[in-house]
């Protein structure tokens, strides 16, 4: 059984190896500087993480068709969180790493239209169809959340909240890890729960 795992692990190994060549740090670690990246957003602008130094940055992996993502968008939870974060001066990047032909893959126009229809206002929508950014951060699910402090250190990674279900009714009784981490950073306190296991659909690389 392990032999078969090794074989199918090779493509993953190869891409991880290639990524490690392109970036100084191949895996995100809490407390360490978050892996730097440069990407193009749905408005055609170039976004670079190191240019955001001095501001808190939140990364959200999205697949608008995944039932877990829909739970947070149809209830308005994700949009409210985005607005709250932006009010506090944070930058919100909504990232789609679905490969062409797979669920969740969108063009720039589609991404903008969907966001508009959902009343979602992230700072930028990043299209990562080759999955490089997703693999750089070891993003596994949609949603998968990362919080980067103003000094560039990774302060939170994992699930959006503690109820790993597809039911919107679970949102109000759930503990929102992202909001907690954001509030802690703003208050200058250490984040109580910096790392959780994320939940959601697998990212369709």
């Amino acid at each position: 059984m392990f032999k078969s795992i090794r074989l199918s692990f090779i493509p993953a190994l190869a891409s991880a190896f290639l990524l490690s060549l392109s970036s100084a740090q191949a895996a995100p670690v809490i407390g360490q500087p978050a892996p730097d990246f440069t990407a193009t957003d749905s408005a055609g602008k170039t976004i670079s993480l190191k240019d955001q130094r001095g501001k808190i940055v939140i990364l959200e992996w999205k697949n608008h068709e995944c039932p877990f993502v829909r739970k947070h968008y149809e209830s308005g939870n994700m949009q409210a969180l985005q607005n709250y974060a932006k009010e506090k001066g944070a930058i919100w990047l909504s990232i789609t790493s679905s490969a062409p032909g797979k669920q969740g893959h969108v063009s720039a126009k589609q991404a903008n239209d969907i966001a508009q229809g959902q009343n979602a206002q992230p700072t930028s929508i990043i299209l990562d169809e080759n999955g490089a950014l997703g693999r750089l951060y070891n993003a596994k699910t949609t949603p998968h959340m990362f919080l980067i402090a103003a000094d560039g250190r990774l302060s939170y990674m994992g699930a959006i909240d503690d109820k790993p279900t597809t039911y919107a009714s679970d949102i109000k009784t759930a503990r929102n890890y992202v909001k907690e981490a954001l509030d802690s950073l703003l208050a200058g306190k250490p984040v109580e729960t910096p790392s959780t296991a994320s939940y959601g659909c697998g990212i369709k690389y």
């Binding site: 993953a12 407390g31 068709e65 669920q103 070891n138 994992g158 597809t166 369709k204």
Partner: protein
């Protein structure tokens, strides 16, 4: 329809309601057919039984195990059961590893079985109906959440009857892992989780590990390949860590193929417990910024030096000054007598010093978490010292005069030989020296307490000798006596002046008491001092009473003065206080911050530790250091040792220290750095510089 037909239809429908087998025990969703079955066709009173939900999935689709892995969702069931029945948790047989791209899930293609144990504790009626609303996630390349409600009604009787599904359910139950009771220790260091499985406990002939299934997600990486080595009947497994910090305990299923029975894989459920080694990672050999390894000879020397310096501390100086000045009166006296007095004083100091040391060492050998300053952790002792200082101060102020046989602190106008007095003064000097600490004392004494008893005693004796040395020298060398100012009226004024350092020491001790026991304790101490002063004022006026009356009154007054002690011992010991930026130290907190990669600065201090206060003032509480700590997100932990705290004592001991202060800086993911006991702003900033 004719009326008879209507009645017939109604009758059939009614019959359907009461028929035990016609409940909706099967439901169909878009991708799944779900059915509910039981291993009993009749429930026996008081007998546990199993209910099983069978999910039959469309080809190509899969659903999940209790730990779905990198993505997905575990199934859940909302039960509606009659009162007296309770359902246990969902038991799922060992899943497959499902690989999608680089993600690993644990789940089932085609068929999934959810087994739930039911316990009847109290039964009413003849039938029991169970309704299960199940929620599960079905995925192929995309995921669809599904749910359905299925019911079953079973008759209840004295004894249970097996159902036709019993063998099928039994087959699934047989796949469940055998729980291994004894936890297995595991280590989580440098990015891997490592543990040993004792193969002999499995009861298999020739086992090979074929699969690892973590029940708690992300402690180990789902996609990493474990490294396995087999040696002497023990299997060592090393897996890459997952994204979560290692838990004190987590569950793991291990599947073994028994080569003597190749067909099936046998599963065992292990509990893995985080190993806490004798010297856990945060306390690994620190890279010391100062040489704490002083040799024994150096420690002796430092102790003598410390003892000498103690003489100028506000606690001891008055005693020494007055004793020395008394010598100038005797400068006409014979040198031999003066020398004898000097020896008596030295003896007094060294004997009481040895006694104190013996008590400390004895307590330590007896297992008490003793360190230098141990005595200061007791509010009772602090109050006692405050009383002592106050009493000495009152004597110097002239409030009372001690009988000469006890040895006045310097107000002896007689030329009589007074060795007993000198001895007593020596003991007094040691007592008043205890709350004061001096430079060089701390390293020597701290080192002493780590040594075997005899060597420790030697260092304390050296300290006492240093304390007695100035007076001894003066008593030996006549030239020094000649240097002393000539006696005169100014001596009375000087004596009264020296009362004030004693009062200041008493005030400081009361402040320490306040830190330990709060405002109530402080009040007790203050009232106690007032009562002492009152007793001293009242006593001479009691001379008019008869002797028994006088003694009784004295005893009553003394009892009054002792009341604050009971008060102080009853007041709640306050929790350690910390400044705005500091957090309370605990070993768990330190460990937690270290695993998160947060840099940590630990300040072990105490209210009665003067060196600590100086360091805080001069370096740690300075704006530059505070700013640097904020900038680098350094967590500042204060370990307040003002009160007895075995955990802090243990922490100090892990660095080979027995007292405060102790300053340790932990850079993220690196070995701790020890700072010197005397801090400068520059040194602290320099140490914090390079993460």
């Amino acid at each position: 329809m004719g009326i008879w037909k209507r009645i017939a239809v109604a009758g059939i429908l009614a019959a359907g309601l009461f028929s035990p087998c016609l409940a909706d025990s099967t439901a169909k969703t878009e991708l799944t057919t779900i059915s509910l079955a039981s291993n009993v066709s009749t429930i026996g009173a008081g007998e546990d039984f199993w209910l099983m939900l069978h999910l039959q999935l469309q080809p190509g689709w899969h659903t999940y195990w209790q730990n779905p892995g990198d993505s997905g969702m575990a199934p859940s069931i909302d039960w509606v059961m009659p009162p007296g029945f309770s359902a246990g948790s969902i038991h799922l047989p060992p899943p497959e590893r499902i690989l999608i791209d680089s993600l690993v899930n644990y789940g089932y293609h085609s068929q999934a079985y959810l087994l739930v144990p039911v316990t009847p504790s109290r039964i009413q009626g003849n039938n029991a109906s169970f309704s299960a609303t199940a929620h599960w996630l079905v995925c192929k390349d995309i995921c669809i959440p599904e749910s359905a409600t299925v019911d079953i009604t079973l008759p209840v009787a004295e004894r249970s009857i097996e159902s036709v599904q019993r063998p099928a359910i039994g087959a699934q139950l047989a796949k469940l892992p055998k729980t291994v009771e004894t936890p297995i220790p595991y280590r989580a260091d440098d990015g891997t989780v490592t543990f040993d499985i004792p193969m002999h406990s499995l009861g298999l002939e020739n086992p090979t590990l074929v699969t690892l299934l973590p029940v708690d997600n992300e402690i180990i990486s789902n996609s990493a390949t474990p490294q396995i080595t087999q040696e002497n009947g023990s299997l060592t497994v090393s897996v890459k860590r997952g994204s979560l910090a290692p838990l004190p305990q987590f569950t793991l299923w291990a599947g073994f193929a028994d080569n003597s029975q190749p067909a099936s894989t046998k599963f065992f459920a292990f509990t893995l417990k985080r190993e806490t080694a004798a010297a856990p990672a945060p306390f690994a050999h620190p890279q010391s910024a100062t040489d704490t390894d002083i040799t024994f000879a150096a420690a002796l020397l430092l102790a003598v030096l410390g003892g000498i310096i103690l003489n100028v501390m506000p606690c001891v100086l008055p005693v020494l000054a007055l004793k020395t000045l008394a010598l100038s009166k005797k400068s006409h006296g014979n040198r031999a007598m003066i020398f004898r007095q000097g020896l008596a004083y030295t003896a007094g100091v060294m004997v009481s010093g040895a006694l104190l040391a013996a008590i400390l060492i004895g307590l330590q050998t007896g297992g008490e978490a003793v360190g230098w300053g141990y005595q200061m952790q007791s509010p009772l002792f602090v109050l006692f010292l405050a009383y002592l200082m106050f009493l000495v101060g009152l004597n110097l102020s002239g409030a009372y005069v001690l009988p000469t046989v006890l040895g006045n602190v310097g107000s002896s106008f007689t030329q009589k030989e007074n060795s007993a007095g000198s001895l007593a003064t020596g003991i007094l000097a040691t007592l008043v020296a205890t709350p004061c600490s001096a430079p060089f004392m701390a390293p020597a004494v701290g080192f002493a307490l780590t040594l075997p008893p005899l060597q420790a005693l030697a260092i304390f004796l050296a300290l006492s000798f240093g304390l007695a040395l100035p007076y001894l020298l003066i008593s030996i060398i006549p030239a020094l006596i000649a240097w002393l100012p000539k006696p005169g009226g100014w001596m009375i004024t000087f004596r009264q002046f020296l009362a004030f350092p004693m009062y200041a020491t008493a005030a400081w001790l009361l402040w320490v008491l306040a830190q330990q026991t709060g405002p109530n304790g402080l009040l007790a101490g203050l009232l106690g001092c007032i009562l002492l002063a009152f007793t001293i004022w009242l006593y001479p006026r009691l001379e008019r009473l008869s002797t028994p009356g006088r003694i009784l009154s004295l005893l009553a007054l003394i009892a009054l003065c002792l009341i604050p002690f009971t008060w102080v011992s009853k007041t709640d010991v306050l929790p350690a206080s910390q400044g705005e930026q500091a957090e309370i130290f605990s070993l768990e907190k330190l460990e937690q911050l270290r695993t998160q990669g947060v840099p940590v600065f630990v300040n072990a201090t105490a209210a009665w530790c003067i060196t600590c206060k100086y360091n805080e003032r001069a370096a740690l509480d300075s704006s530059e250091v505070k700013a640097r700590m904020k900038e680098q997100n350094i967590a500042y932990l204060k370990a307040d040792w003002t009160q007895r705290d075995a955990h802090i004592t243990q922490y100090l001991a892990s660095f080979g220290r027995r007292g405060v202060p102790l300053y340790v800086y932990y850079p993220p993911y690196r070995e701790p750095i020890l700072l010197p006991q005397l801090l400068t702003k520059k040194k602290v900033l320099q140490t914090l510089q390079n993460p």
